[in-house]
Symmetry: C2
Subunit: 164 residues, 2 copies
């Protein structure tokens, strides 16, 4: 299937917790406790509704959810958003779905009055494709915090201006 | 009273929510919605106990709570801690209580296996005394994110290594 067979939606449904766990797990990139965090954010949104700090954009293909973003305005800021998660099921990688999800997420953030989108990732070599993905999508490195995640595993903070 | 009349404690009690609101408000530094965030972290700890991500260190003087820190290990890191809040009641400012609270907090973080403490503040001129306080306490600027909090209001990230 091509990505034009994809349907994007903002509303989160109870079955999405399991779908998002499968998507995040399929990447092979995340530890179990990180996968748990991804699912906790889904559950926060499902239980608290719009009062939750977390917004979602999901990509469905043929009735199956195959990618998503999770984002939200950062507390105590005016218009700064964090992209908490972006993941595409392994079977759907390499077809531009991540770029499309990210661009649509930025469009929603700008429409809500957002000014900037931040995304954080690891400085480890394993994450070089991730860092290149953000650069291709117009993000630049705003800061690097050495040894943040662990000794030898720094945090790279990317930023992109959106909106007016 | 001198700061040697201060008693420090780690256990949080129900009455501390009101005390911490008064301390944070007395500084005149924080917006109402920021004060609400400070109190929400107290309530999270009170309701969830040790399962909460937030740890507290409180300073009592003559039965009254006059300063505190709120800190915790950052999710998905090994040994990186955030200092979420440090505040001393206006009537107790300028007597070294903030330094003492921060040093004792770092000692607890190191004892728990922590490697680094991060603290974030604003780049605005109003916060120059705050930034100088962290520098006096051995923190250095790890990064600055322009326009993070709002246009013209950047975030300065300080860091200090603690422990072995």
């Amino acid at each position: 299937m091509e990505t034009d067979a994809i349907v994007l939606r903002d509303d989160l449904r109870p079955g999405d917790a399991a779908a998002i766990r499968a998507i995040v797990r399929s990447s092979g990139f995340f530890h179990d406790h990180e996968i748990d965090v991804a699912v906790e954010l889904v559950e926060d949104r499902l239980s608290r509704g719009p009062a939750s700090d977390y917004r979602f954009l999901l990509a469905d293909a043929g009735g199956r959810t195959v990618g998503y973003t999770c984002y939200g305005e950062i507390a105590c800021t005016v218009g700064s958003y964090d992209l908490y998660w972006i993941a595409v099921h392994e079977e759907w990688r390499g077809r531009g779905l991540g770029c499309r999800l990210l661009a649509e997420t930025e469009r929603r953030i700008a429409a809500a009055g957002g000014r900037r989108v931040y995304v954080e990732t690891s400085s480890r070599p394993q994450y070089e494709p991730t860092r290149r993905f953000y650069e291709r999508c117009g993000y630049t490195v705003a800061a690097t915090l050495a040894d943040f995640y662990a000794s030898g595993d720094g945090k790279v903070i990317f930023c992109k201006g959106v909106g007016a």
